[in-house]
């Protein structure tokens, strides 16, 4: 059941190797010369693309884990069962990478456990994020473990863990609600730095609600990407359910995006910030909200109604780009908007390369796992055992 029979020198592997090598060089630089050498961060711009992309987007796009598992196990949509394992795997890898990437960004990564075990700063929303991410990575690891245990043939332990599914799913949704929203709430502390069109007392709600279409779209998007290379790994159930998953998730994402669109409007209306729409910032806000929230909502609706799988797949990509755009706007573009242009932040090449490196590590581990463990197929010994 491996794909390693062929030569390792495939184009994908070569590119992976180059990126990993560059990443290692940057890693050495980061831990010998400091953030000043590697990043464009400065005293006014303490958070860059490693927070804006690796943390904010990483967590939002890993929301497929809790959305898929709750749809299947809590909301009784059993027909999505074959989508749960791939989604849990991606979520687990996504969160593991978020934690991995944070080790580069924080000044003293060896102290990352201090807030949880040594001296918790409970008034901080970052504490909440930290605690929830820490717990959720653990939950995801346990949720994912049956796949690994089946692969390793550890039947007894696998069956014990499997009994926890319901409790873990509920706990996972609680934790996800908390930290998805808290990531937005981080910026509630900075009304004077974030542009009023993006600043809102509803930032927590905005981040949480948008994580739902983000997660659903990532499941569709990944499913599409994984379908070709691992077609031979997919069992009949997976292949049969695939189209149903895409159509169902498209419907769900369409509704979630429509709700998110409404929250976006309420957020602007709450502080009566409509007049900003006439400015350049307003135009940019409209691009985000009309082009990457309203439009995909509409396209998803059309796609699921007409059973247009191709349209849905492209819409999933559009939604993912839209969520990334939103997180970039909040954390970088509209942050420090009042500073003069020469004091604004733009990531350095090494910062971008390290983010690519982190994603590549994730993709590589993903490839390793799905080529071996029962992710796209049910292990023959555990058929119908769920």
């Amino acid at each position: 059941m491996t794909t390693e029979n062929k030569s390792l020198m495939t184009p994908v592997n070569i590119i992976t190797g180059i990126i990993l090598a560059i990443g290692l060089v940057i890693t050495v630089l980061r831990f010998t010369k400091g953030l000043g050498t590697v990043t464009n961060l400065d005293q006014n711009n303490p958070w860059g693309v490693w927070i804006g992309f690796d943390l904010l987007c990483g967590v939002a796009l890993a929301a497929g884990g809790y959305t898929t598992s709750s749809a299947c196990y809590l909301f009784g949509m059993k027909k999505y069962h074959s989508a749960v394992r791939p989604a849990i795997l991606t979520a687990f890898l996504g969160y593991a990478l978020v934690v991995f990437a944070l080790h580069f960004d924080v000044g003293r990564p060896y102290r990352l456990v201090y807030p949880i075990f040594l001296q918790p700063g409970t008034t901080s929303l970052l504490y909440e994020v930290g605690l929830c991410v820490f717990l959720y990575v653990t939950v995801l690891a346990i949720e994912f473990s049956p796949a690994a245990l089946e692969w390793l043939g550890m039947k007894k332990l696998r069956n014990t863990v499997h009994k926890l599914t319901l409790a873990l799913t509920i706990f996972g949704v609680v934790l996800s609600t908390l930290h998805q929203s808290s990531l937005g709430a981080l910026y509630i502390a900075v009304p004077s730095k974030l542009h009023p069109l993006w600043y809102s007392p509803y930032l927590a709600v905005l981040f949480f609600v948008s994580s739902i279409p983000a997660g659903l779209s990532m499941v569709i998007f990944e499913g599409t990407l994984a379908h070709k290379p691992w077609h031979h790994m997919m069992d009949k159930t997976h292949l049969d359910e695939h189209e149903g998953v895409i159509l169902g998730f498209a419907r769900g994402a369409s509704i979630a995006l429509a709700a998110y669109f409404c929250v976006k409007l309420v957020a602007v209306a709450y502080d009566n910030n409509w007049h900003y729409l006439a400015t350049g910032w307003g135009a940019w806000w409209l691009v985000e909200v009309l082009g990457f929230v309203a439009l995909p909502s509409l396209l998803y609706a059309i796609g699921s109604r007409e059973k247009n799988i191709k349209l849905i797949k492209w819409t999933a990509a559009l939604t993912v780009v839209g969520i990334i755009l939103n997180r970039f706007n909040v954390s970088m573009v509209a942050f420090n908007w009042q500073l003069p242009a020469d004091q604004r932040y733009f990531p350095s090449l090494m910062e971008i390369m390290l983010s690519i490196f982190v994603v590549t590590v994730g993709v590589t581990v993903y490839r390793f796992i799905v080529s071996r463990m029962p992710i796209f197929f049910e292990h023959p010994e555990y058929k119908d055992a769920h």
């Binding site: 050498t37 809590l74 700063g121 949704v173």
Partner: protein, 362 residues
Amino acid sequence: MKRRQFLGLLGAAGITATLGTTAQAAGGKSFDGYPDAKGVLFDATRCIGCRKCEAGCNKVNKLPAPPKPFEDLAVLEKERRTDEKTYTVVNKYQGKSGPLFRKIQCNHCMEPACASVCFVRAFTKNPDGSVTYDADVCVGCRYCMVACPFNVPAYEYDDPLTPRVMKCTMCHDQIQKGEINAPGCVISCPKEALTYGKRDDLIEIARERMKKNPGRYVKHIYGEKEMGGTNWLYMAGTDGFSALGMREDLGTKSVPEISAGPLSVVPMVAALWPALLGGVWAMNKRKEKVAEEEQKAAVKAAKAATKAEGEAKLAKAMESAERDKVQAVEREVKRALEEAEAARKEAEAAKTETADKDGEGA
């Protein structure tokens, strides 16, 4: 039972973990600062931009020597901010009648943003009014820098493994040890542009100055209410605070106050979500069960109906068979009787014939 216990434990753990001391932050109590807290009053109309305060700060805090000496006033031509080697800087601005100067340093907020957002409680608001930082627990996440509305904390970006956040301490340690009786900058100011004292007294002093010098000041003490109030206070000439590059749109709410609302929702999610999601799960489970039972019942009914029908058919068949049998018997009997009758008649006829024959013969 086991699962229920486990869920209960999870819920309890979640609440304890997230609730912590946040309830206090979100409570209705108001904090008006420590009663004897000290502060510094900066009077922009007295500042001449000599940078003596910068030199004094540098010396008292044993900070590295700057690339250009403090006597070099050409530095003022470019706007600067505090950094990891400089706790305070003076900037020059153009006023309506000549240059204006403003000193920047940590404002020592009464309810500091940095302290409230720090996830490891590295910042402390001391009873003497100062806000200090503990490098021994700092993780280096830089959220304090993001949150500070005055852009004060600075970070040692060039230290790869032990970077610290650097900022003015209002010379807390040195004053506590008795090395000096006022912050280094205040001592070095030759024009008494800086006054160190109890915050309440400083506000009195500022009001007094405004009263005694009508037309000299704009009628506002910056920091009295900004961001919930700061221990460093500012007076400005008639050009106002915006002419000194100070933001006048910060509002009067402190960061803890702003974030109290969102934080208060946190424990609710932990409290309500398990019940809500568990409820949804239970409803779906029940729906499935009901559907299953209904299906079973329907199958049973169908089976029963089929059986009854079959029985009825069988009974009917039996009946008709019975009827056929009876009819057959009857038919047989009848035929036998008829046959017997015919035989009898034949015999009789034969007898008569014989008798006739006998009569003819006599």
